[in-house]
Amino acid sequence: MALNNSRKIETPSQVVILEAAGIYKSYVNQTGAKADTQATTVLENIQLQIHDGEFVAILGPSGSGKSTLLRILSGLIPSSRGEIRYHGQTVSGPNSHVAIVFQTFALFPWLTVLENVELGLESQPEISKTQRMKKSLNVIDLIGLDGFEDAYPKELSGGMRQRVGFARALVVEPEILFMDEPFSALDVLTAGNLRTELMRLWRERKIPTKSIVMVTHNIEESVLMADKIVVMGHDPGRVRAVLPGIAIQERGKKSPESEALIDLVYTIITQPDEDADEIIAARMQKSAPAQKSAVKTSRSYQFLPHIQISTLNGLAELIARRGGKEDLSVLGRELQMEIDDLLPLVEAFEILGFGEATEGDLILTAEGQRLAEGSELEDKEIFREQALRYVELIRMIQQMLDKDARREVGEDAILSKLQEYFTEDEARRQLDTAVSWGRYAELFAYDNESGLLYLEDTAPAQEQ
């Protein structure tokens, strides 16, 4: 009973349903009146195949363009270069064989559950009104929403709302089901419950959908659900590794296979500058830890993760208590942090020289130990030293301040410099992070009103 319907038992089909061939996506930065416009690349040379019968998870940290990729695959937005092929044929525009389940559910609050579900069928004139109603009620039944047909979304709990999202997607009987972080807005238990039910429908073939593509930043989730895990990296968004999932029988247990895969994914993701293939190869041979490649993929400008200092201190203290070393997947599970939360922290540790991520572990450096043990004042001292030594942006601001006769710099000057490397919004966030770090380290002060950075002892002759 448990085995007769599972897809993995069948020979995996080699029919490619959807394919991304050399997809690039870039946005043009319009920096004011300047003639030279710069393009920020969000996706670089994406190759991806989605086969019949396959559940694909696209996994990556924020900024890796995974949601953008999903939208390009579904035809919602055009790519800058490259092709999307559906059954071997190049397509453009919204693909009508695709349905999407959205992160925020994207339900119409003014329509009832039934009306929301019927929405996708209304565009098919060949389906009569009674058929439409019948189909919708069937799906509502299937997804466990019966009794709620006439309720408005706001009357439902988060989990029930996402069920409506699923029902709306499934009623159009899509060939491919796309899911954009479908469980990330739900609490842990609700998400688990909904996941199990979806997997049951999928495995028992209660739904005619041929393949599912899910964007997620939850590593456990991808290992639990997917037949294929596509790991993406950022700056620019690219595919770093395509890993086969584990056998369906092994999922959801503390089996060595699943633990190993989770650990491998953590290792790949927390070492964004390493070659993923080398990491995998090192794992396969069970050999010594992969040597850090001498030449890191050079980034145009150091990217500051947007991390609060108190979080950084807190994590340093926690790891120090554990003996200066802790497994990242353990940390993630224990602190209820998904990689979108954990990865920036790890990056901050590495940038500031407080810790290093190797083999899926976070290890404190001597400075990290000092940070964990120090008093509030000592912490500031250590942080200031490290920030001045390693953080490019803070160094740059410091130099600009030193050069200025009045010891002050307008933020516009810094922003325009940052915009050579980042989008307008990201440049703003980079500056905000640098300001928050610099303020903590008492390196410089900042006046939000005038947007002026200045050295503390020479406060600008402004109000306050």
Partner: protein, 601 residues
């Protein structure tokens, strides 16, 4: 220019937190239930008959009418006059709504058109509308010399110009801020264009649209009263209606008739609120774009009655639903959903929609109109001598002084009163409905009465002018302050209490910063309103005499009366320029400051 400061969409309703409506007896007794049904059916039928009668009466009158109308002061004719006035409002409102939906939709969906359309809207709403009334009336009367259609049209256009802008802004703003995922869902589930428009754009904008409609409707009364009785030089144009009734009564010094007229006006406004706006607000609650179930939902006994009515239910099944089905089938035929991409390769070029073409046509038409208008304006302005310009500038500063005084008075009484009402739930429950009724009386209707009293004083017209400006504007300040005071978080108030922040320090630390964004919004609206009101306030014909308070408003009115178009244009432009300049220099800066520093996140 928002009329009530809205920190979030969901806060819209907090402005007028309606008093809790007593619940209908929820008896399980079926007999009781049945009696309810009957009563509600009677109500529905009466309403249907009433509306039909109104429309027929309006239509028949249009053909019989000649220009010289005499306004009867008999109280028995008041219901008919009220009907005429209401009909005018309805027509103007429908025009405003259609304009709003078309203009807002194009501006929100067409990037090219948007670049022209939004600044144009911004300019249109800064122009003192009343100054155009005389010229509009003259033109339209000339176009339809033998009927009252010209004057009727002029009234409709005037009311339209007082209603449309804020509604359009609200709709445009909502329609262009629809969450991305909802838009994507609409694309992926292939909503046809008209479904997208109704189920996404209009639905998403519904709440803002309704609140702005209510504001526009209130503003409409103000201009309706001004538009029904017009004196241009030696000629006077009258439309039978409540506004003209009140004015004629005031002119003749007939206090009893004035009281009748005012009472009817207030009664109609209150009835409309109960029978129309409250049910609509209660019904529209489902359009609120929030996922949390709010604790307090607006309710309306009238809506409950309607929803329980059997007659309506039968109508719904027999007439409305089939009509809906027919219409949607028709619309589906007319505007089919986009062809699915699927297997067939499709070039994105084909998606150039009707919207885009319509946008281009509108843009082109606007540009042409603009060029012609500019040419004409330049020709006229050349005729204004420098001395006259200087004189106008002097007048401008006098009106500036008056608006400043009116705003200062509003500030002085409305801030303490509004704070008191807003911070005390008991007081606000009791006073809000009263304040709303008082505020809903259009200042123009009260003006004759104020004149009657103020003209006894020395420099009476000056006092009267300031009072009229005040009447038209103080409510914006008051309502905003009430909304602001109600929005002060309890924990902040408790913290202030805990640290013994009292007296002046309480104002400085807690109240002023918290209500500041609301206050600025109220003052912006009030400022614009005061300038506009100056045109009717500074130049008054009353009891056969003309009273003039020197100022830009009276310059406009005089120029219109004497038919000197160049001066009229020059003074109107000067007023618009002044309003825009003050907005940019003072209000917009204060508003930015409010958003940056004093927003309770």
């Amino acid at each position: 220019m928002a009329q009530i400061y809205l920190p979030e969409r969901t806060d819209i309703e907090s402005r007028a937190q309606r008093p809790p409506v007593p619940n209908l007896p929820n008896s399980k007794n079926t007999q009781n239930q049945q009696r309810y049904l009957k009563r509600s059916d009677t109500l529905v039928i009466v309403l249907l008959v009433g509306v039909t009668a109104l429309i027929i009466a309006g239509a028949s009158r249009a053909t019989v009418h000649t220009r010289s109308v005499t306004i009867s002061l008999s109280p028995f004719i008041l219901p008919l006059y009220a009907g005429y006035s209401l009909l005018r409002m309805i027509v103007a409102y429908i025009i405003s709504l259609v304009f709003t939906l078309v203009y807002g939709h194009i501006a929100a969906t067409n990037k090219t058109a948007q670049r022209f359309m939004i600044p144009i809207l911004d300019i249109l709403q800064s122009i003192p509308i009343l100054s155009f009334l005389p010229s509009v009336v003259l033109t339209l009367v000339a176009l339809f010399p033998h009927s009252s259609i010209g004057v009727e049209l002029a009234a409709a256009i005037l009311i339209f110009t007082s209603q449309a802008w804020n509604m359009t802004f609200s709709f445009y703003h909502s329609a262009s801020t629809i969450p991305a995922e909802l838009q994507e869902a609409a694309v992926i589930y292939r909503l046809s264009p008209w479904r997208r428009f109704l189920k996404l754009e209009v639905a998403y904008s519904m709440i803002g649209l309704i609140w702005n409609s209510m504001m526009s409707w209130a503003g409409g009364w103000f201009f309706l009263v001004a538009a029904e009785q017009l004196t241009l030089g030696s000629q006077s144009y009258q439309l039978p209606g409540l506004g003209s009734y009140i004015q004629v009564a005031a002119n003749q010094g007939n206090i009893t008739a004035m009281a009748y007229g005012l009472f009817t006006l207030v009664a109609m406004i209150v009835l409309l609120d109960i029978l129309l706006w409250r049910p609509i607000v209660a019904w529209a609650d489902k359009f609120k774009f929030e996922m949390a179930k709010s604790t307090e939902t607006p309710s309306s006994p009238v809506l409950d009655l309607l929803q329980r009515s059997r007659t309506l239910e039968t109508m719904q099944i027999k007439i409305i639903r089939p009509t809906q089905d027919f219409l949607s089938a028709l619309l589906d035929k007319l505007f089919p959903a986009q062809k699915p991409a699927g297997n067939s390769p499709r070039s994105p070029r084909q998606t150039v929609s009707l919207d885009k073409i319509a946008g281009w046509i509108v843009t082109a038409a606007l540009i042409c109109a603009g060029i012609i208008g500019l040419f004409q304006a330049a020709r006229l302005l050349m005729q204004v001598r420098p001395v006259e310009w200087l004189a106008l500038l002097g007048m401008d500063s006098l009106t500036l002084l008056r608006t400043f005084l009116a705003m200062a008075i509003s500030f002085v009484w409305a801030v303490p009163a509004g704070t008191a009402i807003g911070m005390n739930p008991n007081l606000s429950r009791r006073l809000q409905p009263i304040v709303q009724v008082v505020a809903s009386i259009p200042a123009t209707a009260l003006f004759p009465i104020i004149l009657l009293l103020a003209l006894q004083l020395p420099a009476g017209i000056n006092v009267a002018a300031i009072i009229l400006m005040l009447l038209g504007t103080q409510w914006y300040v008051l309502f905003n302050v009430i909304a602001g005071a109600m929005a002060i978080p309890t924990d902040l108030r408790e913290a202030a209490q805990n640290f013994h922040v009292v007296g002046w320090r309480r104002w400085k630390v807690l109240i002023f910063p918290a209500i500041f964004p609301y206050l600025v919004t109220g003052m912006i609206t009030a400022s614009g309103g005061a300038w506009n009101a100056s045109i009717v306030a500074e130049y008054v014909q009353f009891g056969g005499k003309t009273f003039i308070a020197p100022g830009l408003g009276s310059s406009i009115a005089q120029a219109a009366a004497s038919g000197s178009i160049p001066i009229l244009l020059a003074s109107t432009l000067l007023m618009a320029a002044t309003v825009v300049t003050i907005n940019r220099l003072v209000w917009r800066r204060l508003y930015k400051l409010a958003e940056r520093r004093f927003t309770l996140a």
